[in-house]
């Protein structure tokens, strides 16, 4: 199906058993939860899904499970970035083979590539498959390696399947430099912000966000998007401030605290793989007090149903 990039899209965490092995049964429950709570698309495994701590074989296994469990109810994109570009290309071909609807990829890890090398990377990735390609910009995590307007323009020109970007700089200038280039060339290019930074991005032409807190508070996420679309800015500010507080709770050693919070929401998904820590009982209790203070416990679904 053609993937629709609009609204709050969910990128599930990766459920693990106590021995850190894949928990596919819980993964399917989680995907179902996201689809039923109005996630407009599924994208897995973002860094929130511990992508880099999974083996390539595990990533393929989960990706197949995702496509199967979502079963065409919404679009599914597979994040194919890996330390090795060979693995990324392999994951991209695999995504196509199993029937995913798009792939998403960040700039290469570790090597501080030049702009030309970033262009070349995405050109190779984009031409290796027929699926739509979503690029992922996250300069603060990748020591300044990033997209700019010129790079976007060249890639849009070269790759007809380049349909959008996860823009996670959270920076006005960087977002505008990308949006004004991309949207002038391709008005339906989808600019999707990271976390739930909807309010600062939608007025600039953004179409929604990938979600950080969607497994905790899907109602709040969806309400924030609706308020932005309805131009109810006072309401949008109130909800965005709340989402910001949640992000500050979860941001450190992401997604450890997120998984801890999910325990408190009745949706346990197991530990977090090292080197990331697993949220301790004390941390979970602290998260519970914060979720209570924010009214999340009373307004959001508890458990898997």
């Amino acid at each position: 199906m053609p993937i629709k990039l609009r609204g709050v899209m969910q990128s599930p965490v990766t459920p693990l058993k106590d021995d850190f092995s894949p928990d596919l049964a819980t993964f399917e429950r989680l995907l179902d939860f996201h689809v039923r709570t109005s996630g407009t698309a599924i994208s897995w495994p973002h860094h929130k899904g511990e992508s880099l701590n999974l083996t390539i074989a595990e990533r393929k296994l989960f990706a197949e499970a995702a496509v199967k469990a979502v079963a065409g109810r919404v679009g599914v994109s597979i994040h194919v970035s890996a330390l090795s570009v060979e693995d990324s290309l392999d994951l991209a071909r695999h995504a196509q083979k199993i029937g995913a609807d798009a792939i998403i990829a960040i700039t290469p890890y570790f090597w501080n590539p030049t702009k030309e090398a970033i262009y070349d990377h995405f050109r190779r990735l984009g031409t290796s498959i027929d699926l739509p390609l979503i690029a992922y910009n996250s300069p603060s995590y990748l020591s300044g390696i990033e997209f700019d307007g010129e790079l976007i323009e060249r890639l849009i020109e070269r790759l007809p399947n380049f349909i959008g970007m996860k823009e996670a700089s959270f920076n006005s200038e960087k977002f505008i430099e990308i949006s004004r280039s991309a949207l002038a060339m391709k008005p339906d290019f989808a600019l999707v912000t990271g976390v739930e930074y909807l309010l600062p991005s939608i007025p600039l032409g953004g179409v929604g966000s990938y979600s950080s807190a969607g497994a905790i508070c899907p109602n709040l996420c969806n309400a924030a998007f609706e308020a932005c679309i309805a131009a109810d800015w006072d309401k949008a500010r109130e909800l965005q401030y709340k989402l910001s507080r949640l992000w500050l709770l979860f941001r450190d050693q992401y997604p450890s605290s997120l998984k801890g919070g999910m325990v408190m929401m009745g949706r346990p998904v197991g530990p977090t793989r090292p080197p990331l820590p697993t949220a301790t009982r004390e941390r979970q209790d602290y998260l519970r007090t914060q979720l209570e203070e924010l009214g999340v416990m009373d307004t959001e679904p508890h458990g898997w149903q």
Binding site: K174, I176, L199, I202, W233, Q240
Partner: protein, 304 residues
């Protein structure tokens, strides 16, 4: 405290004569230009006004001159930053006596201050005056030294006149965090956009904008400011993209580019002062052409 809202703030450059003296004749004309083209406040001399290249005496004279020229038509915000706390404190006191409506200060230059040092520096400056005190947060200009929400909350506890943050970090995470947390303890705490990237800042709750490009594109910026004030972001977005294009043309050369662009718009304010170097003829031509190529600039005033 805190009823003072700066609104649409123009931040004039400082014109120099060929001998690199402050050109008060031109400065008077420049101030009139800003007032005529929508300034609701003036802030001076900001970094765009080469504050750090002026002597202490020149800064005082400049401020007194500006306040005399403005004659109460709009508030004048004095920029008092320095490396040494005592120097900034004395400058803040002078600004208040001279009739400034508010003061604004960056972290101390050069010292790469840890949070405790920043807190004391700001607390001493702010407590030296009764007029509103704004902190200017521009990590890119200050070697990465930046305000934090924790620091803002501590300053609120220390200073009744800490009115808000003029933010040039452009950082959505920080802007949202600081305004939502600070307003819990000081409901009239202000976030003011420190650059022309107003749309996102306004959407998350900023009021007001410091506009270093107001001498170049006052009409475009007035449109941006008015649309944002009414939260009409569909209209604001076009103006925002146009002014972003202007900013990118001038970004690399900093104040030298800004002055070259002013020249191109028929408002010659001379060259920048050393250590900044004036742009060569070719580069000035390139800037003039690049500005000309931005369609929205066609509606901007030429000359004084």
């Amino acid at each position: 405290m805190g009823t003072f809202q700066p609104g649409f703030v123009h931040t004039p450059v400082t014109p120099f004569t060929r001998e690199a003296r402050v050109d008060f004749g031109i400065y008077g004309k420049l101030i009139e230009f800003h007032l005529k083209h929508g300034a609701e406040s003036l802030a001076l001399p900001m970094h765009a006004g080469e504050s750090v290249s002026l002597t202490d005496e020149e800064r005082r004279k400049l401020l007194e001159f500006a306040i005399g020229q403005v004659k109460g038509r709009v508030p004048v915000i004095a920029h008092v930053s320095d490396s040494g706390t005592a120097i900034a404190v004395a400058r803040a006191r002078h600004a208040e006596q001279a009739g400034a409506a508010a003061i604004v200060a960056t972290p101390p230059y050069y010292w790469t201050p840890p949070p405790a040092m920043l807190l004391e520096h700001f607390a001493m400056i702010g407590s030296a005056v009764r007029i509103p005190f704004f902190v200017y947060n521009a990590p890119d200009e200050m070697g990465g030294v930046k305000m934090t929400t924790d620091l803002a909350l501590k300053l609120i506890g220390r200073l009744d006149n800490f009115a808000g943050i003029v933010d040039a970090s452009l950082d959505w995470q920080f802007m949202i965090e600081v305004i939502s947390e600070a307003r819990k303890v000081r409901p009239d705490f202000q976030l003011v956009s420190g650059t022309e990237y107003l749309v996102s800042a306004r959407a998350v709750g900023a009021k007001g904008m410091f506009a270093p490009l107001a001498g170049i594109a006052p009409a475009l910026l007035k449109g941006l400011y008015d649309h944002c004030s009414k939260e009409q972001y569909k209209d604001a977005r076009k103006a925002q993209e146009d002014i972003a294009a202007v900013r990118q043309v001038l970004k690399k050369g900093g104040v030298a580019s800004l002055k070259a662009a002013l020249h191109a718009m028929g408002r010659d304010c001379g060259a920048p002062r050393y250590p900044l170097l004036a742009l060569g003829e070719a580069e000035r031509g390139r800037i003039a052409d690049a500005i000309e190529a931005i369609a929205a600039m066609g509606a901007e005033p030429r000359g004084w």
